[in-house]
Every structure is written in C-alpha cells, then in structure tokens.
C-alpha cells in the first residue's frame, strides 16, 4: 500500500511540475527571443512579466471553442489530446534522479521511441479532420517529416545502446560515470538532436505549420483550449527531448556537489534554451530540402556511425 501511495504521489508531482514548467516556457521563450533581438519582451504583468502566462492561460480558456461545421467532429476533438498524452507518457521512463522516476522499464529507450512515434497522429488527424486545404498540406508534411526523422532518431541511439549494453535508461546513465556518451558518440548526439528538433517540429523544422505559406498548418482551424493542447504538447516535447539528450548523452543526474535533481534540471534547461536560440537564429528550410537532407545525408551518417561503433566494440572484446 505504501509503495502504491509513493508512486501515485510521484506521478502527480511530476505531472504538475512538467505542465507548470511547460506553461512558463512560453514566458521564457518570449523573454529570451526578445533578449536576442534587442527588445524587452513581455515585462508588464508581475515581476519580470512572469504573470503573462496566467493572462495567456485565462485568455485560452475564455476564447470561443469553435468546431467548424465542415470538420470531422469526433476526430477533430480527439486529435489534440494525443500529442500531449504521448509526450507525458514518455516521461514515465525519464530518470530525473536515482529515486525520482516512475517506471524503470528494461526497454525504457524503446518506450520513449514508441511514444514519440504515436505523437504523429495528432498532426495527421488534426490536419485531416479540419477539412481544410492548408491543414491537410500541413498534416502531410508533418507525417512524412516525423516518420523519416523517427528512423534516424532510433538509429542514432543504437550506438549508445551498444556501448551501455542496455535499453534501461538508468543503466545508460550509470554507464556514463567515467565520461559522458557525448565524448564517445559525438555524431550520434548531433543526429539525435537534429531528429529531436524535427520530431517536436520546432523551428527551423516547423514546416508542418509554416505560417508564411500554410496559415498555421495543421492547427489552422483550432481555437481555444484545443489549440492550447497542441501548444502545451509542443513545449512538453521540447522538455522531453532536452531531458532525453541529457539522460543519454550528458550523464543524466550525474554531477559533483549539487544534488542529482538539480544537475538534471540545470542540464535540461541548457538544452531548452538552445531550442529557443535555434528559433531566434535559423531560417526555415524548404520542405523538399528537409526530406533530402534527412534521407541522403543523415541516414548514411547514422548507419556509418553504427557500423564503426559496432566494429570498435567487437575489437575491444
């Protein structure tokens, strides 16, 4: 009974913390973007403009939640929930600290890949159910982009699995006691980060919603809290990819002096800010360029990395 209570409490705390951080990320992003563009950004409501998030949330809740009459109603309502649910489920396997984790699955890494592959449905179904040309185009782009980059994401991680000999995320963290995997697998790190940006469809890879060509892409027809779900799902995705990069390549919770959770949070926030910096600095590539880049450059490099890692592992044994 005690065990069940402990895990329930942990799940509730993690869920609450994650959604809160995801909401405040909107403020962080706007402030950081402003900083890099020589502006102030939101700075009126509350200290440092922090309460802008509260204002935004209230606004989202009170907007008219409109379902277009030409939309496919059931799927239209259902689609935004998938992305948030899939990303939140992935956090089940993320080890925040040695004793702060929900489930230490022996196939944790695969679970993360499986959940991130289910996130595609949100975009595909949202775009299709909207019954709008721009939305459908966004959905098509999103589907092909995410399916392609999932492949590279999985392939880039297999080198790490070879070195640590396990799919369990705690094992992968503990295997980095001497040096981080970013030292031994630098190529895999770059590939994983690229694929991660494409998976969360953040700038520069936000081609499914490219507002200059597709209005707002797959979520053109969405309003109110349904749009909010897409929005929060995107920010949760950023946190998830940052947390996974830290867990797999930057030693997770490992670090001197400070407690493990603090190390994990610090490292994760470095990558979250990197995501925001990318948005501030890079233009969006053309859609066919993105696909070509994926299949003609990233895939061969990922396979080569796998081959070399395998060869070295065999030689060492």
């Amino acid at each position: 009974m005690n065990e069940i209570l402990k895990y329930t409490l942990m799940i509730v705390i993690i869920l609450f913390t994650l959604t809160t951080i995801a909401a405040w990320l909107i403020w962080l992003e706007r402030r950081m973007l402003a900083l890099w563009q020589d502006r102030y950004g939101p700075n009126r409501a509350g200290p440092f403009g922090l309460f802008i998030v509260v204002a935004d949330t209230i606004k989202l809740f009170f907007k008219e939640d409109w379902i277009p009459p030409f939309a496919e109603k059931a799927v239209f309502v259902f689609a935004p929930a998938i992305v948030a649910a899939a990303v939140l489920l992935s956090f089940v396997v993320v080890p925040f600290a040695p004793d702060i984790l929900v489930a230490d699955l022996d196939i944790g890494l695969l679970f993360f890949l499986a959940m991130s592959s289910l996130g595609v449905y949100s975009i595909v179904l949202g775009g299709w159910a909207s019954n709008n040309k721009y939305s459908l185009l966004g959905a098509l782009r999103g589907a092909s982009q995410m399916i392609s980059y999932e492949v590279f994401m999985g392939l880039s991680l297999m080198g790490v699995v070879m070195l640590s000999g396990s799919f369990r995320l705690t094992d992968i963290v503990m295997a980095q006691k001497d040096f981080w995997f970013v030292v031994t697998q630098p190529v895999a790190f770059v590939l994983f980060l690229t694929a991660g940006i494409a998976e969360t469809h953040r700038l520069p890879f936000d081609i499914p919603e490219a507002e200059s060509e597709l209005v707002a892409g797959f979520h053109s027809e969405y309003s109110g809290m349904k749009f909010g779900m897409f929005f929060i799902g995107e920010y949760l995705g950023i946190i998830l990819i940052s947390a996974m990069v830290v867990t797999i390549f930057f030693g997770g919770w490992l670090g001197p002096v400070l407690p493990p959770v603090v190390w994990f949070t610090l490292k994760t926030f470095v990558f979250i800010i990197f995501f925001i910096l990318l948005r501030a600095s890079l233009p969006r590539p053309r859609y066919d360029q993105l696909m070509e880049y994926g299949w003609k450059i990233i895939l061969p490099i990922a396979l080569l990395n796998l081959l070399i890692t395998g060869g070295i592992t065999l030689l060492k044994n």
């Binding site: 196939i107 890949l113 499986a114 449905y121 595909v124 299709w128």
Partner: protein, 186 residues
C-alpha cells in the same frame, strides 16, 4: 495482471470488430490502431516486452501512419461511406462469418483440450531475443533482408526521375550553365 490481460484482449476484439464494420475508412484505420495497441499490451503482459514495443513503433507508429496518409490523399467523401454501407449487406458477410465461426470453434476446442491457461507469461529479455534471432534464425533474418533490399531497389528505380526546372528564368540560367559547361569541355 490476469485482469489486465483479459481487458486488453476484449479491447482488441471489439476494436477489430469495429475495423470491419466502419463505413468511414479513416475511422476504420483508427480502430485498427487501437487494436494494434491492445495487441502490444497483450504481448507485454505475456512477457515479450520487446515485441510489444516493436508492434507500437513499427505497426502503430509507422505503417498505420502511411495507411492513413494514403487514405487522406484519396479524399473520400460521403459517397464512399454510402457505397461501403451498400456493400455491407447480410448476404455478403453471412458466408465468411459462418466459416470463421467454424474455425473459431475448432480453435476453442484445441485450446480447451490442451489444459493450459490462456495467460501464462514467460519473460523474454531483449538480449535473449537478439541471440535467438541472430544465431538460430539467422537464415530467416538474412532472407528477409534480401527481400527488403529488392523492395528498396524497386522503390529507388520508380522514384528516379530527371529534375525538371519549371520556371522560365531558371531554365534560361540552366541552359546558359550547360552551354558554359560545354564550352569548358570543348
């Protein structure tokens, strides 16, 4: 855990039934997806966690997305749903149902006579699976790889085409470039 097994089994059955009876193809595919997720759950509960996640990653996460992708492009409207409704008459599904029921009865009799529990988990780790796949069943893996290779070559052949430059300015530039290239070659 046995309760979870039977719940997942029921979900899989109901979802599969819905796949067959839906008139809207996208709805049918979504139910197929639910059915695949329920199957993954069954695999997991029986101890094959690796197979369970592969089921989600490959079937639910990739193949089904491509199915939905194609159906989305076909732009099927109300007429198709109407057509499907016309096709789904008792005359059409009676025969196959009777045959399937006979097969199901045989299957049930076999399972019941074996005296084994339906739910008897045996945990298989990813490592054991890999060893079995690359030692005992190596030939199968190699044959599958060859088959896939043939498919890849075929796809590459179909997908190959000359790059067309459609814009007139670009065409002029390209022609100029070609001329230049020819000059340098000469």
């Amino acid at each position: 855990m046995e309760i979870a097994f039977y719940v997942a089994g029921t979900v899989a059955l109901v979802a599969t039934l819905m796949v067959i009876t839906r008139h809207n193809p996208v709805h049918a595919l979504l139910y197929l997806n639910v059915s695949l997720l329920a199957h993954a759950m069954l695999f997991y509960l029986l101890g094959a966690s690796f197979a369970a996640l592969l089921e989600i990653i490959i079937y639910a996460g990739a193949i089904m997305v491509l199915f939905i992708f194609v159906v989305m492009l076909l732009n099927l409207g109300k007429e198709t749903a109407e057509q499907e409704r016309k096709w789904l008459k008792p005359k059409v599904w009676m025969g196959p149902t009777v045959l399937a029921a006979v097969l199901f009865a045989e299957f049930l009799a076999l399972v019941l006579s074996s005296g084994q529990d339906a739910y008897s988990p045996a945990v298989v780790s990813p490592r054991e699976l890999a060893v079995a796949l690359y030692r005992e069943y190596l030939i199968g893996v190699e044959l599958a790889a060859m088959l896939l290779m043939a498919a890849v070559v075929g796809a590459a052949h179909i997908g190959r085409h000359k790059k067309l430059v459609l814009h007139r300015f670009l065409r002029e530039e390209k022609e100029k470039e070609e001329e230049k290239h020819e000059e340098t070659v000469l």
